[in-house]
C-alpha cells in the first residue's frame, strides 16, 4: 500500500521525494514545464480546476485519470491549442502563453493527439511535413528529401510503409504510427502523447515504448497519457492523477502501484475483478461458413475460408495481431464488402445479398474500431448520436416521440456512465472515452441478436471497462450472441467463452474454457498460414 501525496497546494512540487535508482534523468528534479492554477471552463463544465502540473525532463511523466477527467484538455493547453480560463504556464520558469499549436511547437512542445489528425488523401511523407515542408531555394517542395526522411522515420518505427502510400490506405494502427513519426520529425524537448497506444498492437506498442526510452535518454520530457495501466507502470517515472479536473495525487514511480492508481483515479478502492458468470449457452445465432474476402488489389485474400458459429448467450472473442483480418471479418458480416464470398446465417436466415441496413434490421450491430470515421456524428448531440440506430423504436406515426427517446437515451447514459453536462451537448465536446461509450450506447439501443464489437474498450478507463464487461456479460446472459475483436489478451481471457485466433486472414485456433490462455492465444496469432494449409495459396 502506498500513500498518495496530495500536492494540490504545493506550487513547485519541490516537496516531492527525489526519485532514486532511475537510469535516466533522475538528477534533474526541477520541472522543465509547470502549470500554475490552470482552470478551464466550458459551458456547463469545469474541465480543469486549479491544476498544478509538473513535467520533468528526461522522464516519462504519466498523466492518468478517468474518462473526462481533463487529461486531453490539459494537453491542449500545454500545446497552445487552447488557452486556459485562468492560471499560467511556466517553461523553464519563464511564463509562456502559446496561442497556437505553431507557437507551442516553436517552444519545443510537440503533441500526439488522442484522435488522429492526419490528412487521409495525402501520402505518408506529405503528412509528416504538412505545415513545415522542406522547401528548396526557389520555393518548391523538396519531395525527394521529404521521402528520404520519411523512410528513415518509418525504419526507426520498424514499419514497412512506403512514403508514397496514402494515409487512407493504412490500418488505423499504422496511421497512429505515422502520427507518432510526425512528432518525431520535429525537434521537441517536451513530447505529449495522448493515448498513443490505444490503436496499436502489442508489437507496435513495444516499438513505441522503445522510442520513448530513447527520447528520455536524450533528455526529452514525455507526458504520457494512457488507460493501459500496466504500460504506464512499466515506463512511468512520475505519476500524476487527475480526477474531475483536479490534480489529486502526484508521486514518483517507486511510490506507485496499481492499487494506488485505481484508488486515486476513481476515489474508490480497486473493485472486485470482473468475473465471467456461468451462462446457459443456447442455439447458434450466427453461423459463418467459408467466408473469404479477396484483396482489393494485387490478388490474394484478406480473409480466407473462415467458418465459425456464435451461439445465444455466448461471448466469442477474436484475437489476432493487427492486420490479421479481424476488422474486415466483422465488416463482411455486416455487408460492407460486396465482394466477400461464403455464407452467413443469422438464426436460420441467410444474409446473402442483404444491404447493411437490412442486416442491422435483421439483428446485427457493429461497434466499429475507428470511432471518428465510423462511429460518431460530430454535428449532432449526444442524445441524437445514441438514438440514431434505433429511431424506429421511438417513432409514433410519422413523428419521433421525444419523451421515449429521451428516456432510453438517459438510461444508456446512466448505465454506461457517460459524462455529460446535458444530453443535448454536442458529442464533439465529450472526452475521447466518453465518445466511445456513446458509440457503444448507440449499438446497445438497437437490441441486436448478435452484437459485434471491434476493440470496444479502446480509450476507456479501467472502471468503465469493467462496467462494459458487466454489460456485455448481462447481455449475453439475456441470450444475445456477442462477437468481439480485441488485441488485448487480458480482455479476451476475461470476457470470452470461446476464443478464435486469426492470423493473416485465417482462423488458426479455436479455444474454449481453460484453454484460453495468453500463451495459446499468442502462439496461434503468429502461426504462418503456409504451414497450416500447405495446399492453399495466400498472397
Amino acid at each position: 500500500m502506498t500513500h498518495a501525496e496530495n500536492i494540490a497546494n504545493d506550487k513547485n512540487g519541490t516537496a516531492l521525494p527525489r526519485r532514486t535508482g532511475s537510469s535516466n534523468g533522475s538528477d534533474k528534479t526541477e520541472p522543465v514545464l509547470r502549470t500554475e492554477g490552470i482552470v478551464k471552463r466550458y459551458p456547463g463544465t469545469t474541465a480543469l480546476d486549479g491544476v498544478d502540473f509538473n513535467v520533468y525532463p528526461g522522464c516519462v511523466n504519466v498523466l492518468i485519470g478517468e474518462n473526462g477527467a481533463g487529461k486531453s484538455t490539459l494537453t491542449r493547453i500545454l500545446a497552445g491549442i487552447e488557452s486556459p480560463t485562468s492560471g499560467q504556464l511556466l517553461l523553464r520558469d519563464q511564463s509562456i502563453a502559446p496561442a497556437s499549436p505553431r507557437e507551442g511547437r516553436a517552444l519545443g512542445i510537440g503533441v500526439i493527439h488522442q484522435e488522429l489528425t492526419l490528412f487521409p488523401n495525402l501520402s505518408v511523407s506529405e503528412n509528416l511535413f504538412t505545415g513545415r515542408e522542406l522547401v528548396s531555394g526557389v520555393g518548391t517542395v523538396q519531395h525527394g528529401k521529404q521521402k528520404e526522411v520519411a523512410r528513415t522515420l518509418m525504419a526507426r518505427l520498424e514499419q514497412d510503409i512506403s512514403p508514397d502510400t496514402l494515409v487512407e490506405d493504412l490500418r488505423i494502427g499504422q496511421q497512429q504510427l505515422v502520427e507518432i513519426a510526425r512528432a518525431l520529425a520535429e525537434d521537441v524537448s517536451i513530447l505529449i502523447m495522448d493515448e498513443p497506444t490505444s490503436a496499436l498492437s502489442r508489437a507496435e506498442t513495444e516499438i513505441l515504448l522503445r522510442i520513448v526510452g530513447e527520447l528520455t535518454a536524450q533528455g526529452v520530457a514525455i507526458v504520457y497519457i494512457s488507460h493501459k495501466l500496466d504500460e504506464c507502470l512499466r515506463i512511468g517515472d512520475r505519476f500524476t492523477v487527475l480526477r474531475d479536473g483536479r490534480l489529486v495525487a502526484e508521486a514518483p514511480a517507486q511510490d506507485v502501484s496499481l492499487a494506488w492508481i485505481v484508488e486515486n483515479m476513481s476515489g474508490r478502492s480497486e473493485g472486485a475483478l470482473f468475473r465471467k458468470e456461468a451462462r446457459t449457452i443456447g442455439e447458434p445465432v450466427l453461423r459463418v461458413e467459408n467466408l473469404s474476402l479477396p484483396r482489393p488489389h494485387g490478388g490474394g485474400y484478406l480473409i480466407k475460408n473462415v467458418s465459425f458459429t456464435v451461439r445465444a448467450g455466448e461471448a466469442v472473442g477474436i484475437y489476432g495481431l493487427m492486420g490479421a483480418g479481424r476488422t474486415e471479418l466483422l465488416e463482411c458480416l455486416l455487408g460492407m464488402h460486396p465482394d466477400a464470398r461464403g455464407s452467413v446465417f443469422l438464426g436460420d436466415r441467410s444474409l446473402a445479398g442483404l444491404r447493411i441496413d437490412e442486416r442491422l434490421q435483421a439483428g446485427l450491430a457493429l461497434i466499429p474500431e475507428d470511432r471518428q470515421r465510423l462511429g460518431v456524428l460530430r454535428n449532432m448531440s449526444v442524445a441524437k448520436n445514441i438514438s440514431l440506430a434505433a429511431l424506429s423504436r421511438f417513432t409514433r406515426g410519422p413523428a419521433l416521440s421525444g419523451r421515449r427517446e429521451n428516456r432510453e437515451v438517459w438510461r444508456m447514459i446512466e448505465t454506461l456512465g457517460i459524462r455529460v453536462s446535458s444530453a443535448r451537448q454536442s458529442i464533439a465536446t465529450l472526452s475521447g472515452g466518453n465518445q466511445q461509450k456513446a458509440v457503444v450506447a448507440k449499438s446497445l439501443l438497437t437490441q441486436p441478436r448478435v452484437l459485434m464489437m471491434d476493440e470496444p474498450t479502446r480509450g476507456i478507463d479501467v472502471a468503465a471497462k469493467s462496467d462494459i464487461f458487466h454489460i456485455v456479460d448481462d447481455l449475453a446472459a439475456q441470450g444475445m450472441g456477442i462477437l468481439f475483436v480485441s488485441s488485448e489478451l487480458k480482455e479476451v481471457i476475461a470476457l470470452a467463452d470461446r476464443a478464435l485466433v486469426m492470423a493473416r486472414g485465417r482462423l488458426t485456433a479455436a479455444l474454449e474454457g481453460e484453454d484460453i490462455t495468453e500463451q495459446h492465444l499468442a502462439d496461434a496469432s503468429v502461426i504462418a498460414p503456409s504451414t497450416e494449409h500447405p495446399n492453399e495459396q495466400v498472397a
Binding site: 491549442i81 465510423l374 440506430a389 453536462s421 462496467d467
Partner: protein, 351 residues
Amino acid sequence: MGDHTQPVPATSRRLPLRMWLLQSRAYLALIVLFIAFSLLTPAFLTTGNLVILTKQVAINAILGIGMTFVILSGGIDLSVGSVVGLCGMVAGWLLTEGLILPPFGVSIFFAVPIVMLLTLVAGIAVGALNGWLVTRLGVAPFIATLGTLYIARGAALLISDGATFANLVGQDDLGNTGFPALGADTFLALPYPIWVMALFAVAAAFVARKTPFGRQVYAIGGNEKAAELSGVRVNRVKLVTYMISGLCAAMVGLIIASQLVAAHPATGETFELNAIAVVVLGGASLMGGRGTIGGTIIGAFVIGVLVNGMVLLGVSEFWQIVIKGAVIVLAVVVDQWQQRMQQKSLVRMQA
C-alpha cells in the same frame, strides 16, 4: 455502475450575451433592416408593400426549403432554376396544348388541379433523376445537378421551340380555367403564394425536426459512413432530398407561371444561386449536417427585405446586386466567426 458519472453541474446554462447576439444574428439583421427601411421610406411599412414583399420572399423561401434538405445531407442542387422554368412550361403546355396522344391524334386536357399535380410530379421526376445520378452512378452532386441544369433548361426550350405559352387562362369548354388564381387570389387577405410558403415551411420544419427521415438527413451530412453503419439508408434518403428539392422547384414554377399568366422557357435562370444564398444566410453549412428550415426562411426574408427596401429607396439596380453579394459574403464571414468562437475547442479537439 455509474457512480463515477454524476452529470457535471451546469455552471451556467445561459449563453454569454455575445454568443446570443451572434446566434440570433439573422433575426437581428432582419429586425435592423426592417426598422431602418421603415424610417428611411414611408412606403416600406404599408400593408400593400409588405404583401408584395412576402410574395417575392415566397419564391426564394420555397426553393430554399428544398435546397436546405439537399445541403443538409451534404449535397447541392444547381438544377432548381431550370426546373422552375421547365415546370412552368409543362404547366403551360398542358393547359394550352394538352397531353397529346400520338396514336389517336387527340390531345387530352386536364382540370387545373390535375395540371398542377402533373407539374409537381414532373419536378419530382427531375429531382429523382438528380438523386439517381448522385446515388446510383456516383456522380458528384455539383456535376450531376449542373448537368440537369442544362438538360432541364434545354427541355423547357424544346417543349415550345423556345416560344412562350401566353395567356394561360384556360378555356371554359375544355374545363381548365382558373390557373391564374394561384398567383393572384387571396385567402384571408393573404395571397396564395404566402400560404404555400407557410405550408411548405411548417411541413418541412416538422420533417426536419420530428421525423426519423429528418434526423437521418442530418446524420448523413455529418458522417455518411457512420450513418450507414447506424442503419441509415443513405442512398434512399439522399434520393428523397433531391425529390423534395424538385417538388419545391416545381411549386415555384407553378406560382410564377400563374402570376405571369404565361410560361416562358427562360424563367428561373440563376434562381439556384438565390436559393443557395438564402440557405447559407440562414446559417446552414455547405459541408452538410448543419442548418435549419427556420434559418432558411429568415434568410429569404433578409434578402427579400433588402431588395425591396433598396428598390423603394431608389438604389440603382447595379448597386443592389453588389450589395446583395456583399451581404451574402458578410453572412458567411460572421457565421465562420461564430463557429470559431463556439467550437474553437471542438474543432481543435480533433486537431
